[in-house]
Symmetry: C2
Subunit: 186 residues, 2 copies
């Protein structure tokens, strides 16, 4: 039975996934990202490219910020927004719309040894707020989950990981793997 | 001598380019667009992919709106912005920043028969304004060129094409081709 290879260059993501799925191994493949706002398509394209070089199973994940009033933006384009205008800029442009409600979503694409792709998702609702806090990374400082007084960047890693969108998505994958062990006929 | 193949599915762009370069032929290849905010890299990747299937010379063009206060956004991501929030949404988020100054830029990548890539650019400065006019396409209704009282969408095609960013970029390519005819050693 081959180990599941998590295609990522991000040590933090790998650590969080391995907490729930200790057998996962990281592999840093430099795969082209297609220009798309639909994370499922980006993930599927990466998995297909990875399968050309090596046999799976593989996982690829996308964690993005979706501003409700912006109909799916920034979504997977969030990294370009951050590079261009920073977290304060993302807050400013969100405020230009009627609502600052947003969704933080992790989508994990899992390509089993049969090559088929399954998706597992985790979402957290919240609001985009003026930047607060220094923990975490990316847009953690401007995302305040509903029911909390803190942004992700004001939480410790342990607090965030107890209920994060990534946690929820990995949990879905874990449950699937328990029902259908890797390499088994399903 | 092979004709120059303009890789595009956009009839309007093809028509504008052929006005200055009548020998150019359109070819609609479905090439993946990499996720990038640098149009040069997107164009270079498309030209490289096209060269895998067919020999050139080829041209690929990108025409994007760059909002000065947003440091390069939306740039080539403009199509996702339009799909998500429309021209009014792009105006609203521009207004959230300190300046509505913007640049409309066409970049043409030309891959000669030797495979080398040359870039030709044309830029027009202007401002992002509330949508006016129904001509043109894309973000024409919110872009008002400096020195004009009309948006691109309030101009006729003839007016726009006399000084447009695409016109300027094609003119650069045309001058290059006159100095170094297609197929000649340079």
């Amino acid at each position: 039975m081959n180990p599941i290879l998590f295609i990522t260059g991000n040590e933090g993501k790998l650590r969080e996934v391995r907490e729930l799925l200790p057998d996962v191994q990281g592999i840093d493949m430099d795969l082209a990202e297609i220009q798309e706002i639909d994370a499922h398509k980006i993930i599927a394209a990466k998995l297909a490219e990875a399968q050309r070089y090596q046999s799976g199973p593989f996982i690829v994940e996308d964690t993005s910020l979706y501003i409700d009033a912006m109909n799916g933006l920034p979504g997977p384009l969030i990294k370009w927004f951050l590079r261009a205008v920073g977290v304060l800029g993302v807050y400013k442009l969100t405020e230009a719309f009627e609502s600052t409600k947003a969704t933080a979503r992790t989508i994990i694409g899992y390509a089993g040894e049969d090559g088929n792709i399954l998706f597992f998702e985790g979402s957290i609702k919240g609001t985009v707020v003026p930047p607060r806090g220094t923990n975490g990374f990316g847009w953690d400082a401007i995302f305040q989950p509903d029911g909390y007084e803190k942004t992700f960047a004001e939480m410790t890693a342990e607090e965030k990981n107890q209920f994060s969108m990534r946690r929820l998505a990995v949990e879905g994958l874990r449950q699937h793997l328990e029902q259908a062990p890797v390499g088994a006929e399903v």
